[in-house]
């Protein structure tokens, strides 16, 4: 367990009397791809939002790289090495693709007000380094030729890939991805599958995916955690989870489970 890069312990959160998460435990090892699945309303996105600091849990602890992140601001947690991508494209609309990528380097760079405004040599050097790093990161996801396009000129799927690259360029230890496959065609799904593996293998980044596209989850994830009604109902390798009776019940209901097994 010492290899856990992210651990969530006994996490509780509710909104105005509605309990959304009730005692979630999660241990994610360095370098794994973890799937987080569950029916609608299970609390997956809430869990993501709690981990990255948007919501504060009422009880429990979240430890990232040995540091407790509960109560910290989202930007501070990001600086500790947590990246995330969103369900809908969150590229900055007023920037080019390259500028978006350079913004991803915010936490590793240091140019402040004075050296930026006076255009000091230090700033120019850093700016040039950022540009090079941004181009390299775009090359990694195969989007180099789009560097100078406005972010809004990209297709939906392209924006998603750039957003993943923008998160990776900040060299996070863990990346939370909220439904990266939503709206992608079968071909693009295969590309995403390959990209996620390359991220894990070449960058050594730990990925946590919330995903409804079960094919992707079963294919790419090392471990799968299933949430239902705010609780963890199963946790293990994809094959084991797929046949777990609690999981089938949560997705299909009791009666259907019987039919599912009969057939």
């Amino acid at each position: 367990m010492s290899a856990a890069v992210l651990s969530v312990r006994d996490l509780h959160i509710g909104f105005g009397g509605v309990k959304v998460l009730e005692g979630i435990d999660l241990e994610v090892r360095r370098g794994e791809i973890r799937g987080l699945i569950g029916p609608n309303g299970a609390g997956k996105t809430t869990l993501l939002n709690v981990i990255c600091g948007i919501h504060r849990p009422q009880q429990g602890d979240i430890v990232l790289n040995g540091t407790s992140v509960v109560g910290r601001k989202p930007s501070a947690i990001a600086r500790l090495g947590l990246g995330r991508t969103f369900q809908t494209s969150q590229l900055f609309r007023g920037m080019t693709v390259l500028e978006n990528m350079m913004t991803g380097l915010h936490r590793q760079t240091h140019t402040g007000l004075i050296s930026a405004g006076l255009d000091l040599k230090r700033r120019r050097r850093e700016e040039a380094q950022m540009e090079k790093a941004a181009l390299d990161a775009l090359a990694f996801v195969g989007m180099s030729e789009f560097a100078d396009r406005p972010a809004t000129a990209l297709s939906f799927g392209q924006q998603r890939v750039v957003e993943i690259a923008r998160t990776l360029i900040g060299e996070p230890a863990v990346v939370l991805m909220d439904e990266p496959a939503v709206g992608l065609s079968a071909n693009r799904l295969t590309e995403l599958d390959a990209l996620l593996r390359r991220i894990r293998d070449q960058k050594g980044v730990t990925l946590i995916l919330i995903e409804h596209v079960i094919r992707l989850v079963m294919d790419v994830c090392d471990q799968v955690t299933v949430l239902s009604s705010g609780r963890c109902i199963a946790d293990g390798p994809p094959e084991a989870v797929r046949n777990d009776r609690n999981v089938i019940e949560a997705y299909l209901g009791k009666e259907l489970r019987a039919r599912h097994q009969a057939s």
Partner: protein, 339 residues
């Protein structure tokens, strides 16, 4: 070749501004100085509204605070202009920093309202704290002299304003194309995404408010010296509308647009003086035309038609309907990359 590139046009404008005084009468030099002061105001406000996306209505109040602080430090404490002026600008910057605190919790119309309330409170202080501010009648500032230099006050002040405007233009121009400027735009275009990349919202907003306060404070100090007089009505709501008009007409999210907007609006106001009573009507009509038909302002038109006006960070207007929900996007042609 691009003879009308942004750099060439700006250099030509600067050359014209430097060479203007011998050919200008007292009134024309006054208007030119006014334009330069408004360039400062418009750039500062555009950094806050156009780049950082904070819909604040306190710029006229900052302008007033700069003017009052510069004037009162001279009148009440006997400081010289050269000490009072930088202090006045710094005071306005500090007030701007303080204003960023509500901005962390409020956005959009709520931020607009709270900053508007602040502006009205500032007016009230100017009007009613009579023992310090001299109330509604205002006060005269001591005559300014550029003693060792062989220039009279209007000329000296014009060149001082111009030098500061050029310096602060360049500062803003560098700033918006830097890591700091990108943080501003990131906060404007998506606070949650910006935070997820490690951009600190409070710090970034505070910086934008502080910078715009500083620019307005510098402009206020120069304005008080130009008029030799400070009174509350110079910093009222109409003043605020004027600043907003400049950045809308010039182009939100463009430093050069701020310069053009300030120039166009001031010249227009002066020309319209000839048509008594029509001034406000024509001015209002112009604003409506810009809001309806030229959403990106003058700068957008120029960028479309003149080569060499590209800027690193552009303000892209959101499309009329924004796909918020995932299902709506799922229907869109889904493809990772049309290569």
């Amino acid at each position: 070749m691009t003879p009308f590139s942004r750099r060439n046009v700006l250099l030509a404008l600067l050359a014209a501004a430097i060479l203007l005084p011998p050919f200008a009468n007292v009134y024309q030099l006054f208007v030119a100085n006014l334009i330069v002061i408004y360039v400062l105001l418009a750039i500062g406000l555009n950094i806050l509204v156009g780049y950082a996306g904070q819909l604040a209505f306190a710029n006229a109040a900052m302008f007033g605070i700069g003017a009052y602080a510069t004037g009162l430090l001279q009148v009440q404490l006997g400081w010289s202009f050269w000490a009072a002026f930088p202090c006045g600008a710094l005071i306005a910057a500090v007030v701007g920093l303080a204003l960023s605190l509500p901005a962390l919790r409020l956005s959009g119309l709520y931020l607009a309202l709270s900053t508007l309330a602040f502006a009205q409170a500032t007016q009230w202080v100017f009007l009613h704290w009579e023992s310090v501010t001299f109330g509604a009648g205002g006060f005269k500032t001591p005559p300014l002299s550029f003693a060792p230099l062989p220039v009279d006050k209007p000329l000296g002040l014009y060149y001082l304003s111009l030098a500061l405007a050029v310096a602060l233009f360049l500062f803003a121009h560098n700033l918006v194309a830097s890591r700091v400027g990108r943080a501003f735009v990131a906060v404007r275009d998506g606070e949650v995404a910006a935070e997820s990349l490690g951009v600190d919202l409070l710090r970034t907003k505070a910086l934008a408010f502080g910078i715009s306060g500083f620019y307005a404070g510098v402009a206020g100090g120069l304005y008080s010296a130009m008029l030799n007089f400070v009174a509350p009505e110079g910093f009222d709501l109409f003043q605020m509308v004027l600043h907003k008009a400049m950045i809308v007409v010039g182009g939100l999210g463009s430093v050069v647009g701020s310069v053009l907007g300030a120039g166009v609006i001031i010249v227009l106001l002066e020309v319209l003086r000839a048509f008594k009573g029509l001034q406000e009507i024509v001015f209002g009509a112009l604003l409506v035309v810009f809001v309806l038909f030229m959403r990106g302002g003058l700068i957008a038109v120029i960028k479309r038609h003149v080569r060499g006006w590209e800027e690193p960070l552009r303000l892209v207007q959101p499309p009329p309907t924004r796909p918020e929900a995932a299902p709506a996007q799922a229907q869109a042609p889904a493809s990772v990359a049309e290569r």
